[in-house]
Structures are given as structure tokens and as C-alpha cells.
Symmetry: C2
Subunit: 314 residues, 2 copies
Amino acid sequence: MSDLPHHVHLHEEGPREGFQIEPGPIVTADKVRFIEALAGTGLREVQCVSFVDPQRVPGMADAEAVAHAIRRREGVRYTGIWLNRRGMERALATPLDVAGALQTSASESFSLRNTGRDTAATLAEQRRTLAFCIERGIPIASGIVMTAFGCNIEGAVPVERVVARAADLVSLMEEHGLELPVLRLADTVGWANPNAIASVVGAVRERWPALRIGLHLHDTRGTAMANALMGLQMGVDTFDSTCAGLGGCPFAGHVGAAGNICTEDLAFMCEEMGIATGIDLDALVSCAHLAERIVGHPLPGKLMRGGTLGRWRH
Amino acid sequence: MSDLPHHVHLHEEGPREGFQIEPGPIVTADKVRFIEALAGTGLREVQCVSFVDPQRVPGMADAEAVAHAIRRREGVRYTGIWLNRRGMERALATPLDVAGALQTSASESFSLRNTGRDTAATLAEQRRTLAFCIERGIPIASGIVMTAFGCNIEGAVPVERVVARAADLVSLMEEHGLELPVLRLADTVGWANPNAIASVVGAVRERWPALRIGLHLHDTRGTAMANALMGLQMGVDTFDSTCAGLGGCPFAGHVGAAGNICTEDLAFMCEEMGIATGIDLDALVSCAHLAERIVGHPLPGKLMRGGTLGRWRH
């Protein structure tokens, strides 16, 4: 366990991943209230909205309104995502902390379904995105390889293909003399198991020893926390997660897509293991209860029901 | 990861742990149907009922009726539990596979609340139980240390105390020239984290290198699967679990006690990691859906919603 990090960065995606798939309309004020509460827990980065086609994702039609309404707290980054440059232009017109992300998918079929582009077209789009970011002075925050552990359309994904897609993104940056700050490996549809985490993270680390690796995990089949543990054991120190386990991927091609790994459950495990998160767990549990009230149905987080152990630990 | 076992034994406790805490009366025929379905999945051991005071646990008042109604399948052990010799006598009057278990708790306060006995009285009772079992030719299947990772009344539990309680049970057996077949460490109220699993399992193994260790995990705070992974990495090859994540401890002294680690989620993770379980995952997922229909509310299992990956794996 010598590779366990001392600190982890948890990138909260609940407002975006969670609210974009909820069937009921969630009012803008509730989204803002949730984002502001999350920013008061010690989380340093909250992904607030996605700038996508409101026809495809009606739950995000108020992305601009949310972005403008947030009362910002110092030291917290408020981010958004998009699938193309048009979405990025929308983000740039808001007060959000806009940074570029280079995205690709280890499964070409998933990419086609998710974005309408094959691998080559995706890479060409990322090249244009990167050029645009450089021209506008926008930093690139990360590279993301989706379906890095398997896909419900293609099935298993060979490790070599994940490395090849990561190489695409690393090379794109190198063309401009830049380094990727972090490579996020996404278990978009919940295929990962701890051995797969070890294999893929290990292969990426072997190829690029200095590259920071992040994990984006879904709990579709119950393995998210075990996968996170394996990630921690491999030295991974940045994770995407969602408060209360909100979320799921609307384009994942299967019924019952489970949410992301739950932020407070993951933060609890890290803190209990002596890995600092900078998060006030009780405050985060309150956010999870708020999320349940907002969506109006039970969410999968466990710590919000079991309770923290802080009163015995301090 | 060199200590990963090649096979694991999953001891299904759903019918007992699950149904004993459900508020609504569950009809005997449904219990029997569920037990018979579980026994058809490849599980080798199903804990069916508890022989406890029907005043305290009304959901188990039909224990004898359930035990008599089961149509047995060859190669499967159908077991029950009890808290005292009176319960054991009740079990012996049924067709169940009766074996003794020596039980103690690392938390004296929990022991007092759960059984009304302190540590010394518990040990004295276990001594009588053992003598009774030897006299009647009943094998001892395991020793169990409850609250081995913490307790909602006392808080943290020192590793040395877990080892001391385990030593009580090992010594009891040695008084009769017997060896404990397996020592089960129970995270009765969901306090464990992966480091604690490593510490406690490591300390027990160091003291008794040849002693087989089992884990009984609850998912109260979302760490059960990560704790199981750490157990597997420490070479633990026997786990208690419940189909669909049924269960929870009615005497745990806190609201919202979550269920046990989910059998099919754990089995899925093991199989994906190349650790054989002998279980037909799709059949077990069907059992999980049956459990939900029987209890009439959602259960926490994930694989039952996410679906197995067998069609891509074989």
C-alpha cells in the first residue's frame, strides 16, 4: 500500500451528471442552492452544468442561468462541460471557470452514439478544440478517455486501445509543446473491476510515468468503491464523483445506468484511511440530503444514511 | 496482489439477515421459495433462519416451519443461527445442517445490548456450548468476533482486543484438542475501512498463520466492497453476504443500519477478477429480483440493475 496518496482531489460532478438525467424538471434555484452548498464543504472544484443541445438534454437548458446565478466562493472552481466548440463558446459567455478538456473514447461505437463522431473525427475535433483554446488563452485541464474499461456496445476494451487513445491526446498536446495536466480514465458504463483498474492504470503509467492519472467511476455493478481503492493503491489521487451518488450516463445504451461513485462515501473511506480530502464530511452529508430533497427520490449514497464517525474520531 | 485466492466461498445469509428485520410479515412460503432459489445458483451454504425469541424477532417466529418446508438440494448446506443453547436445541429438532459457532464480541457494550452478557459471561456460555456440542457430536463450524472493526456504543476497537477475543475462542477449542475451522471477523455495524481490514486480518494471521479467516461485512457507509477487496488481497477466501444486499442488524443502536455486502455484487467482482465462486450470476440476479418482490421495496444491490457481463465474457 506504499503508493497510497496523502491527499486526494475530488472533482464534484453531481450538479451536472446528476441533474442532467433527472426526468422531473429541477428548478434553476435548486441547482444553484445545491452548487453553493457543495462549494461550502471544502470541495475545490464543482462541475455545475453542461452546455449541450437542449433538445437532447432538456435538463440542462438553463445552463447559462445557473452559471450566472451562483454566488462564488473563493478557492473553488466552478466548471462546465460541452461536446463541441459551440458549447464551449456558450460556456465562455458565462462567469464559469472555463478550461478545455480533450476527449476521446476507447470504444468507437460508444463515441458514435455519444457524439456522432468516429475515432478519427473525434481526434480532428479535439485538434481544432486545442488550437482554439491556445488561440484564446484557455488552459487545457485534462484529457479524458471514455469507456476505458469496457462498453455496452463493443464489450471488452483492450488495454492497448486505451493507451492508443491516451497517446492521441498526449501527442496532440505535444504538437504544441504542451503537457497534459491529468489524464482521466472513465469507466463510463460501469465495466471496471479492480484488476482492470490495475491493468489500465499500470499500462498508462508505464508509458508516461510522470502523467497524472484520474479516475471517473460509475457504480453500475457495485464495484466503484473497490475500483477506487485499487486506484488509490496505484497512487491515483484525483477522482470524479457525485454527491449522494447522483447521475448516470443518458447515452450509455442500457437500462438502469447507475450513478457515479458517491463523493461522501469515497471521501469517508479516504479520510478513514488517513488520506486527506479537505472536505467536511458532515457538511457533505447535508448536501446529499439536499440532493435527495431536490430530486424527490432516494439516492444511492450510503454515508448519508449510516452517518459519519467523526464524533468518535476526533 | 499475490495473495488473491483462486476460489472464494460465499456464505449466503439473506434469508436470515434479511427477513429477520423486515417490518412486514413475510409468509413462510416466500421464505422457502427464496431459499430454494438461492440453493439453485451454485451457492453451497444458505443460512435460512434464526432460532431466537419470537418476542424480540417476530419475523423469525416461523423458523421451524421454514426449516421443515425446504426441499433440499444435494451439495448445499442449509443452516441456522441462535444466541443460546435453547435456540440450538430448537435447531436440532429440524432437518437443518446444525453446526456450532462460538461467538463473542470485541465490544463489551455491544455484547451486553445484543445478548445481555458481558465478555466473561459470553465466554462462559461459549464454553458450555462447546461442551454440549462435543457431547452431542455436533461439529463447530466457526468462531465469530462481532464488532471487530468498531461499535456504535464504544467507538473504535483496538486491534489487540480483537486478537484477545479471537484467542478466547481459539483457546476454548484447544482445551478440547480442537482447531477452529474458520474465524469470522464481523463488521457488525459498518465501521471498517480497508486499512482496518488489513490491520485486523494481518494481526490475526500473524498470531495464527494457519487459521482460516472469514469476513462478515456490512455496507453501512459504502465501504463494504472495498473492504472485501482488501480482504481478498490479504488472502481471505470466505465471506458472509446477502443476496440483493438484504439485511442489517436490528440491535446495532443506530438508525438506517444498511444491509450486508451484496452477494451477487461481490460474486461479480470476484469472477471479473478471475476468482472462482461457483455461482451462476444470472441465476443469482434472478434471486435478487425475487427478494425485492418478496420484501416489496427496493434493495441496495447494484448488479441486479446494471446487469451481468456474461454475454461478453463467454
